[in-house]
Symmetry: C2
DNA sequence: TCCGCTATTGTTAGCTG
DNA sequence: CCAGCTAACAATAGCGG
């Protein structure tokens, strides 16, 4: 642990860094797990290292995402309450004689940044949607192929029983 | 701290729970911060308590979201590699004579669950989009109102200079 | 509810095999 | 690279103001 009152500083040696990361990462996850159990709280963690491929989600991608989803759903409720105050705020700006348009435009910019992120998420959604369709198409394709094969097998059986000599002649002639 | 080898168990007393949560929460955040600095890693954490209103994101909503976004972007790269193998897998199923349709349908179910979540996210997106439009509308409304006020002020000034007695009569009559 | 304290227990950096 | 060790250090549960 870092000394009392001393802020930790960036580790330069990559080997030390790896060891440190492993140990402290395990410790962090343990503490998170403790807290989850002790206080009946949902925790989701995402780890991302810019250069490295050190990517991790705790306790798992799906669970971390679920917990983030729950967080967002809860924070949306709080947001709706804030929205009412927000509207009052905008109304007061409208009523005031001094315009604070810059402020509003900054908010628009902020919202647009959020919008951009959500577009990124939606791109992901479309990708997944496509995947679903592809799998469905493959299932259908398989079903069709199987039906064709079944029918073909049936035909072959019938031919074998009904006209064995005819088939033999065909084979001997060497043409259809 | 929990004893060595002993898993922590759920706290029942709400007061103790609150104290414990506060302390350990602070500790967890400190450890996360340490790790962030020491190993140059991005960490985003989401906390959600089902019943309570104990909602938190670390280091902040925007930063946690950004870091999750980075995580997703990185994991998407890895996903694309997996996708190729995934397609091979599907192809081998198609080529095989025994259908493993159940397997595929389970995957479809899983994908549909993901799709549902993404719809939730998109609902959020639409909400934000609406918000942007509303703010734009308010800005325009303000501009119009201001123009109207300016013109009205101009008119009043002109009237004051041109026909003072007329204005006075209007005021005394108590109507426009 | 929120500090501050402290004995006890847990964590960790550096090192060894 | 990993697992085990340990002195030194940090976290914390319980208690009191």
């Amino acid at each position: 642990m870092t000394k009392m009152g001393v802020r930790p500083s960036r580790i330069v040696d990559p080997r030390k860094k790896k060891v440190l990361l492993d140990k402290r990462f395990a410790s962090l996850c343990k503490k998170a797990k403790d807290l989850t159990i002790l206080c009946d709280i949902e925790i989701g963690m995402f780890f991302f290292t810019p250069g490295d491929q050190n990517i991790f989600a705790w306790p798992s991608l799906t669970q971390a995402t679920d917990r983030m989803k729950n967080y967002l759903a809860s924070s949306d409720k709080q947001r709706q309450i804030k929205m009412v105050r927000h509207e009052d705020f905008l109304q007061s700006i409208l009523n005031a004689k001094e315009g604070k348009i810059n402020q509003l435009e900054q908010m628009v910019d902020k919202k647009e940044m959020e919008y951009n992120f959500n577009q990124l998420v939606e791109a992901r959604r479309r990708f997944d949607e496509l995947e679903v369709r592809e799998i469905r198409a493959l299932i259908n394709l398989f079903a069709v192929k199987r039906t064709q094969l079944d029918e073909r097998a049936k035909q072959l059986n019938e031919n074998e029983i009904d006209s064995n000599d005819y088939n033999n002649r065909e084979e001997n002639d060497g043409h259809l």
